[in-house]
C-alpha cells in the first residue's frame, strides 16, 4: 500500500496491452478518447444515464463515463473499434436501420454484444434499457439484433 498516486494503469484494450500514465480517477471514457485515440466511444450525458459511452470490461457492459481509470487496471476493455468492422451486429445495424444519427450506436452495439447469441425480444429490451436512443424508437434496433443471426 502506498499513499502516493497509483500513476500507471494497464489493461488489454481490444486485444492489445496498454500501459498508461493517467490520473487514477480520470474517466475511462476520456482515457479511451484522449490517451488511446479511440473516439468511437461517445459521451451523451456524462452521468451514466444514456449508455452512449458503453464499453465492455471483461465482457460486461459498463458506462465508461463513470468508470475511474484505476478500475480498468488489469481488465480487458473492448470498444467499438475492437469489433473490427464485420461483426454480425455491425452489419445488421446498417442493413436494418438500427443506426440513424449514429451517436448511440457504438454503445448500443456493445450492449447488444453482451446479450450473447439469439436473445429473446424481452432479453433485448431489458439488456438495452440502459442505452438511450432518440432517433429510432428502438424498434429498428430490435430488428437489427434479431436479424443479425440470420
Amino acid at each position: 500500500m502506498g499513499l502516493t498516486s497509483v500513476s500507471f494503469v494497464s489493461f488489454v484494450l481490444n486485444g492489445r496491452r496498454k500501459k498508461l500514465d493517467v490520473h487514477p480517477l480520470k474517466r475511462l471514457l476520456d482515457v479511451l478518447r484522449e490517451d488511446c485515440g479511440l473516439t468511437g466511444t461517445k459521451e451523451g450525458c456524462g452521468e451514466g444515464e444514456c449508455g452512449a459511452c458503453t464499453v465492455l470490461i471483461d465482457g460486461v457492459p459498463v458506462n465508461s463515463c463513470l468508470v475511474p481509470a484505476a478500475h480498468a487496471d488489469g481488465t480487458r476493455v473492448t470498444t467499438i473499434e475492437g469489433l473490427g468492422g464485420r461483426h454480425r451486429l455491425q452489419r445488421a445495424f446498417v442493413e436494418h436501420g438500427g443506426a440513424q444519427c449514429g451517436i448511440c450506436t457504438p454503445g448500443m452495439i456493445l450492449a447488444a454484444v453482451a446479450l450473447g447469441p439469439r436473445p429473446s425480444l424481452h432479453d433485448i429490451k431489458v439488456g438495452l434499457a440502459g442505452n438511450l436512443c432518440r432517433c429510432t424508437g428502438y424498434s429498428a434496433i430490435y430488428r437489427s439484433i434479431q436479424q443479425s443471426h440470420v
Partner: protein, 340 residues
Amino acid sequence: MKAFAYVNPTSEKEAVAALKTDGIAMVIGGGQDLLSRMKDYIDSPDRVVNVKGLDATVTATSDGGVKIGSAVKIVDLAEHAAVMSLYPSVAAAAIEVGTPQIRNQGTVGGNINQRPRCWYFRNEEFVCYKKGGSRCFAVNGENQYHAIFGNDGPSHIVHPSSLAVPFVAYGAKFRVLGPNGEREIAAADYFTMPTLANVLKENVLDDEDILTHVILPAPGNVKHGHYEVRYKQSHDWPLAFTTVVLVMNGVNGTSGANGTSGSTIRSARVVLGAVAPVPWRSRPAEDALAGKALNEATAALAGEAAISEAKPMSGNAYKIQIAKTAVKRAVMRAAGIKTV
C-alpha cells in the same frame, strides 16, 4: 479535479488506516456516485481510498443467514442463488437498480452509502444544508420527488438507496470497521434522520469508518413482498417503494387456496423507500398487519395505515397515494396475490 492521492489498500485495516488524514478522504467502490460528484464539484476529496478490492463475496453464516461483502456487485447480488431464494426482496430491489451498466459496476456498499439524488444537492449552484449551507431549497422549490415522511427538516431528501430498504426489512446488521475496531449496527439504526448537527451525512459512519459487510439473519418462517413505483420502466428513480417481511403463524406458512395464506401474520416489518430521509419503517402499517389474515383487505389496511403519518410538502401530496399503493401491493405480493 484537484491533486490528490489514490490509495489501493489490500485489506480492510489498511483501508481504515488510509482514511486518516488532515484533509478530506473518501471511499470509492464502483466509483459511479463519487465520480459524478467530483465531476460536478460537489465533492473534492484530497484522498480517495479504493475498497473495490475488498470482500466481494456472498457467504453463508453459521446461523443460516448470509454475509454480503460491501464490494459485491449489484448484478451479482441480484443473481445470487441463496439471495434469490432466502431474500427474494433483496434480489428484487437489486435487479431494479439503475440500468444493466450501472448494476454491473455498482457495489452493495456504494448503493447503501451513495449521496442523495436531490436535484438541488446535485447542482453545485445550490449550497444547501447538505453542502454546508443554511437552507433546504426543496422547501420553497420543486419538491415533487422529496420526502412525505419525516419532514421535520432541516433536510427533506429521500434516501437514495434501493437496497437499504429490504436490508432494514429483513433486520440486517451492517458491519463497520473503524480505527477502534469492528462494530455491528442494525440496518435500521445505520441511517440517520437529519439534524443540524449531522445533516452533512446520511448515516452513522465516521470519517475513518468503512462499511465492510451486510449480514442478513436467517429469514425464518416469513413471506416477502417488494414493490416499486416509477414513471419509467428503466433507469428511473422510484417515486416510492416498499419491502414487507411478514413473520407468519402456523407450521410453515404455506399458501392456501385462492392465493390467500392459510395462516395469520404474527408480526410484520414494513419499510418504505424514496419517501423519507431514511428507509422509513412504518410502525402503523406493521401494527395493522399483526394478527391479521394475509389477504387483499389486510393489504389495503396496511396501505392506509402506512400513510397515516405522512406529512407532504407543497408539491408532493400525490406521493401519498403512490406510497399507499406500494405498501398495499408489496403485501399482496407477499400473499401471492396478483397486483395489477
